[in-house]
């Protein structure tokens, strides 16, 4: 073996040694990491550091040949410290001889084994660290069971120590809006619910351990609803009907001591019920009242925009036709459905065919839009304003026109009995002074007046017309409407003027009955006199006739005319009155006879006699009508009056009332002062709870409860601290909720009483 070979071998062994040391230290580093429970990356890093350190300790960074030569010199005794000669490029003779000698001696020399030199401390370190890494957990694991064992033993003696309440794992709410809305089902973990009224809500709450739990849904007043256990959690389902605040509470029955305790209370969440709004109708025209004239087209087109937050199920127009006037008004209602149906937002128009509706002059047409939406179970209904279309009746006489003609209405030919007497006396005085023809003519006219008067009174005796008495038709020259002037037949005339047959059909049933009744009278020729008069009697008889003289009997009778058409009324007089009237009529007959014969002197006594009878009848006709109403029991004057006895009289009328506004204001002022407190006491929380209740139950005149305030107050009452922004907002809202009290208090100051009194008294 050449010296060169030996040197190379030893050098390689030295490198190997360094590598071994590096590996061992690296491994030791890694296991140190494991032993310390560091993450893998840290272990690897430590290993790398150890490896590098080992390599450096093995001096791999330096050339190892000199070290190998030195080692061989030390270990192999025959080397004679001559190995550096190998490196010499040129050798002299002595050196060559030495080299040869060396080669010869070294042939049998053993190569020293140095690769494992000084490796044991490294191995020891590795073993130690590995022992640490794997022994420590073992030791710990060994100590653990001992510990639990001791606990299980102690559990029997002190059982309430161990169990811990479970934790909230998840809480979700599923909102299923009503089917008709078409809204999707939502499932959220945000327990603040704002959904359509009628939505189906289902809460699902899970805890880390669902045993021994009771979960409740509670409102702000502390009323509770139980959750149903099952399916690995707790569930509660209900329909959303009203708005409010709620929170979830969970009670845990401690298995150790069997005590039930509230261990979880969520924040207060908002339940907001959003109503399905009724459809919205926006008619195109804003003009509610319009006139229709003869010339206008008979087709009326109206349009409106109808919309709903979901769908409009149906839209329609309700038109009402009113005909007639006064009490004689008849209505006809027509419902006109519109198309299309089931839409969200549409502009609908409709042409009203007035001809088909039989829209005649004087009629009025009212119509409004209506729409129902698709809400279940009861749809929302909206109606628009009512629109009026009035068909101007140009033929009708206006009341205002009548007013100016009032003087003309009263017939001149009417005279009272007293007037007839006066006229007759005047005429007698004129005899001889005027022409005979004139005289006769005047006499005849007075006779006519007498006749009219007689007819009038005759009417009350059932002698409707002369023909019933005398059997002839004296009114032929008077258009058969002798009494028109007295009878306010405003309405009967237009019917005649228009010549239409229709008005009869719109008359009141009462009127029709009356008509039928009068039609059954023997003479059906002129029934409209009675029937017509009753139809439209304006009920305005009292003193409305300027031309009429104050005949008391006439006035009296007039009241009975109000009984309208019924001829029977006339027979309601008692017998003596009746006969008196009849006697008066007879006198009138006689008077008329003489007047017609131009003998006013003869007529005068009859006239006077008639007047006397009429006056007597008037006196007799006074009736006594008993008052109706409460008939108090007679007071026993002697027993109770003026005795001064007040035994059974309540002497104290006590009444008590409370205005909540000022109290709520005072509560708000209190709570405002508490908001800046870092921590609230139980009493202070109670005040907040009171305010919360008061605001919640405030009358609806103040609008909906303010959820922002209420939830803030609930948070405070539950003992939670509010964030700065939340607190500022709560302050603002509370201040706004505080009613504006305009009373300004003054700072008060107490003085020395005596001094003050003395000062003011002696000032």
């Amino acid at each position: 073996m050449t010296p060169n070979n030996i040197i190379t071998s030893v050098r390689n062994q030295l490198y190997l040694n360094a590598l071994l040391k590096g590996a061992l230290l690296g491994l030791a580093g890694y296991f140190l990491g494991v032993a310390l429970g560091l993450p893998l990356i840290w272990g690897v890093l430590l290993g790398a550091v150890g490896g590098v350190a080992g390599l450096l300790l093995g001096q791999v960074h330096q050339p190892r040949r000199p070290a190998a030569v030195a080692l061989i010199h030390r270990v192999v005794g025959d080397a004679e410290y001559s190995l550096p000669l190998l490196d010499k490029p040129t050798l002299n003779i002595a050196e060559q001889m030495q080299m040869e000698r060396l080669s010869a001696r070294l042939v049998n020399a053993r190569i020293p084994t140095v690769w494992q030199a000084n490796i044991w401390p490294y191995s020891l370190a590795l073993v130690g660290v590995v022992g640490l890494a794997y022994g420590l957990p073992l030791v710990l694991a060994k100590s653990q069971p001992v510990k639990t064992e001791s606990l299980t033993i102690s559990k029997k003696s002190v059982p309430e120590e161990l169990p811990k309440p479970p934790l909230l794992a998840s809480a979700t709410v599923r909102v299923q809006p009503p089917g008709y809305s078409g809204l999707p089902v939502r499932q959220t973990t945000d327990l603040n619910v704002a959904a359509l009224t009628g939505s189906q809500l289902a809460w699902q709450i899970r805890f880390s351990d669902n045993r021994n739990l009771r979960v409740r849904l509670t409102n702000s007043r502390g009323e509770e609803l139980a959750f149903r256990a099952g399916n690995g959690g707790f569930a509660y389902a209900d329909r959303l009907l009203n708005s409010g605040l709620y929170s979830v509470r969970a009670y845990w029955k401690n298995p150790g001591n069997g005590q039930d305790s509230l261990f979880y209370q969520s924040a207060f969440y908002r339940l907001e019920s959003q109503p399905d709004l009724a459809p919205k109708i926006e008619p195109a025209t804003k003009e509610l009242y319009r006139f229709h004239t003869l010339k206008d087209p008979k087709q009326l087109t109206v349009s409106a925009r109808i919309s709903d937050d979901f769908r409009v199920q149906q839209a329609f127009i309700i038109a009402t036709l009113a005909r007639g006037s006064g009490e004689n008004v008849k209505f006809r209602e027509v419902r006109m459905p519109l198309s299309p149906n089931n839409f969200k937002d549409a502009r609908l128009s409709k042409t009203l065919d007035l001809k088909a509706l039989d829209f005649a002059p004087g009629d009025e047409l009212y119509y409004y839009w209506g729409a129902i939406d698709n809400r279940q179970p009861e749809p929302n209904f909206t109606k628009s304003d009512t629109y009026f279309v009035v068909y101007k009746d140009t033929s009708k006489v206006d009341d205002s026109q009548l007013a100016t003609m009032a003087v003309n209405i009263m017939p001149e030919y009417f005279r009272s009995q007293r007037q007839i007497i006066i006229d007759t006396e005047k005429l007698i005085a004129k005899r001889g002074k005027v022409l005979k023809e004139t005289f006769n003519s005047f006499s005849n006219e007075i006779g006519f007046d007498q006749k009219v008067l007689r007819l009038k009174y005759g009417q009350y005796l059932g002698e409707e017309f002369e023909n019933q008495i005398g059997g002839h038709s004296p009114l032929a020259d008077n258009d058969a409407h002798l009494l028109d002037g007295y009878m306010h037949k405003h309405d009967a005339d237009p019917d005649k003027v228009s010549g239409s047959e229709t008005p009869r059909t719109f008359a009141f049933k009462m009127a029709e009955k009356a008509q039928q009744a009068s039609a059954q009278t023997p003479d059906g020729g002129a029934p409209s006199g009675a029937g017509g008069a009753s139809n439209g009697d304006g009920h305005d008889h009292g003193g409305g006739k300027p031309g009429e003289e104050k005949d008391p009997l006439a006035a009296l009778m007039e009241q009975y005319v109000h009984a309208h058409d019924n001829a029977e009324t006339n027979t309601f007089y008692e017998q003596s009155t009746r006969s008196l009237l009849k006697m008066a009529l007879e006198q009138m007959w006689q008077s008329e006879l003489h007047l017609r014969l131009y003998e006013p002197e003869k007529a005068l006594p009859f006239e006077k006699q008639a007047l006397e009878y009429l006056k007597t009848a008037q006196q007799k006709a006074r009736a006594y009508a008993k008052k109706t109403g409460l008939d108090p029991p007679p007071i026993k004057e002697k027993e109770t009056r003026l005795t001064g006895e007040r035994k059974n009289v309540t002497n104290r009328f006590a009444q008590s009332r409370t205005y909540s506004d000022a109290q709520i204001n005072s509560l708000i002022a209190n709570v405002l002062g508490l908001l800046d407190q870092p921590k609230l006491t139980v009493d202070q929380r109670l005040i907040i709870q009171q305010l919360s209740g008061a605001l919640y139950n405030r009358p609806s005149a103040y609008g909906l409860p303010n959820w922002a305030i209420l939830s803030g107050l609930q948070e405070l009452a539950a003992g939670r601290a509010l964030a700065v922004g939340q607190r500022q907002q709560l302050k603002t809202n509370l201040y706004k909720a505080m009613g504006n009290s305009d009373s300004q208090k003054m700072a008060s100051f107490g003085n020395n009483a005596q001094l003050e009194r003395a000062f003011w008294r002696n000032l």
């Binding site: 209190n670 907002q729 509370l734 208090k745 008060s748 020395n752």
Partner: protein, 535 residues
């Protein structure tokens, strides 16, 4: 002591002489002279050190303009020029020892620096930054509903708006025109307890103003009437809506009474349980015992529904010792009293102890308690016509004069600064003790000589924050940094008060040689003595 020192010196002189003469043979005369001189010098120096010579010198007066932190340099330069001050310094650069008098400019000086200026003559030129509300003052304790006033001054350069807000709610706001001016923000205290409001200048928060809202006892009002009428019924209703406790009893006939209670607390439903704070009655019933008792308790009485004032005045005066006199002003049955209301055609004859309330024909006389007489014929038409605002206005004005005296009236002016003496005024303290619990201390109160109901004390709050006062009230103490003006002005007052004495002596100064010169001299001499033989 000095004799020992001087004997030591004498011994030293002898020692030196001996040392000099011990080996005279080796030395030349010149060296001997030098050595002798050095020895003599050392001895003289030591003598002088023991003797410690002092002399007085005329002080050179130095005047410095000390500029506060928040004062801009341009202002400082301007003031320096106009006051002809040579030097200018800031809080960090000033060396108080070298300065004899200081002119302070601005407010922001660290208290430690002010403490070091005790020797110096100090003048103060306040500087206020423009557009900043300063000198804010408010009531530290207010009754709920009472008017809180926040006063201050501002030097505005432009049109701006001052707003006071609770949360985000504006309580009062004020437009400020350019110029130097004072301002007042007023609002009624909204909260009972700690109230934190923020002063904004154009949406920029300037200062937080904290005060305490003290609760008020609701007023109990008793109507004493012979017959019920609509006027009193409306008034009772309105008073009830204001949150007062109202009791209206009227006798319908002898022995039969109608009784109405509004806002009665649950327990005292029986009549007459609580003494009323205000009795509202009519002239015929003024002689009743309740009225007299109410006045004796220094509570108030309001007389309504007069028909014939001159004759009724006699009744009232006789019954309760007032001196009402009425003068007829018109022959009409009624005269207008504003707002469409009518009053009896009389006016109150002027009297020194009677005061009319402005805008209403109602006057108040103090007879221990207060007696008010109303000449209104009726006021309810105002309420019926829907003008409840005017109605409230009238009766609030009247009731303001008839308010009962509350107990435990505290007065503390904000801001309360820590470590400053703060006056606390207490009026009508419940309980008769002259001690008060304040911020964990018990302090004794000094009662006023004129008014034993008024008590005062001075207290120095130590820590910032809320401090309890008595049982129910709290006082907020500001952070010391909050307001510098309030710190510097009392300091300056105190400083100048004591400065006047020392000011005159401080022109000359006694001077002596500093210790380090002594050290150098002695060391130098000793060194010379040590070196000299070696040369």
């Amino acid at each position: 002591m000095t004799s020992i020192l001087y004997s030591c010196l004498a011994f030293l002189a002898l020692l030196q002489v001996w040392l000099l003469v011990r080996n005279r043979t080796k030395l030349s005369t010149s060296r001997l002279l030098v050595r002798g001189g050095l020895n003599a010098l050392l001895w003289l120096i030591l003598l002088a050190f023991v003797w410690q010579p002092t002399w007085t010198s005329q002080l050179e007066t130095t005047h410095v303009l000390l500029v506060g932190e928040a004062t801009p340099a341009s202002v400082a330069r301007q003031v320096q020029d106009s006051l002809h001050i040579r030097e200018r310094a800031t809080a960090t650069t000033l060396k108080p020892e070298q300065v004899d008098s200081v002119t302070l400019l601005g407010q922001d000086f660290p208290p430690a620096l002010l403490a070091r200026l005790s020797r110096q003559t100090v003048r103060w030129v306040p500087f206020t930054a423009s557009d900043k509300p300063i000198d804010l003052r408010w009531k530290g304790i207010v009754r709920v509903g009472e008017e809180q006033q926040i006063r201050g001054t501002i030097q505005a350069t432009k049109l701006q708006k001052l707003t006071i807000r609770l949360g985000n709610q504006t309580l009062d706001s004020l437009g400020i025109n350019p110029g130097n001016q004072s301002f007042v923000l007023r609002f009624s205290a909204p909260a009972r307890g700690r109230t934190e409001t923020v002063l904004f200048r154009d949406n920029e928060p300037v200062d937080t103003i904290r005060f305490f809202g003290q609760g008020t006892r609701p007023i109990t009002i008793r109507f004493l009437l012979s017959t019920p009428d609509f006027e009193t019924k409306t008034l009772a209703d309105w008073l009830g809506r204001q949150g007062n406790r109202v009791e209206l009893s009227s006798s319908l006939s002898p022995g039969i009474e109608a009784n109405l209670q509004i806002n009665a607390s649950g327990k005292t439903t029986k009549t007459g349980n609580t003494a009323p704070d205000l009795v509202i009655t009519e002239p015929g019933l003024v002689g009743q015992a309740l009225v007299k008792k109410t006045l004796a308790d220094r509570k108030s009485v309001l007389v309504l529904n007069l028909n014939n004032p001159p004759s009724e005045a006699i009744t009232i005066n006789r019954a309760i010792g007032t001196n009402w006199r009425f003068q007829k002003v018109n022959n009409e049955e009624t005269i207008p009293a504003g707002n469409g209301l009518t009053a009896l055609p009389y006016r109150f004859a002027p009297a020194l102890n009677q005061f009319t309330t402005r805008g209403t024909p109602v006057a108040v006389q103090n007879v221990g308690g207060k007696v008010a007489v109303s000449l209104f014929s009726e006021t309810f038409p105002l309420k019926l016509s829907g003008d409840s605002l005017s109605y409230s206005h009238i009766w609030n004005a009247v009731l303001a004069k008839l308010q009962p005296v509350q107990v435990d009236n505290f007065w503390v002016e904000g801001p309360v600064l820590p470590a400053h003496r703060q006056a606390v005024l207490i009026n009508n303290l419940s309980g008769q003790n002259n001690q008060l619990k304040l911020a964990g201390d018990t302090i004794s109160l000094v009662s006023s000589a004129l008014n034993p109901q008024s008590l005062t004390t001075q207290y120095r709050f130590q820590k910032p924050g809320w401090h309890p006062l008595a049982d129910s009230v709290e006082v907020y103490v500001e952070d010391s940094l909050a307001s510098s003006t309030q710190i510097i002005s009392p300091w300056l007052i105190t400083h100048n008060q004591y400065q006047t004495v020392s000011n005159r002596v401080a022109t000359t100064r006694e001077q002596r040689i500093p210790d380090w010169i002594w050290l150098l001299l002695i060391l130098g001499c000793l060194t010379a003595l040590w070196v000299e033989p070696k040369l």
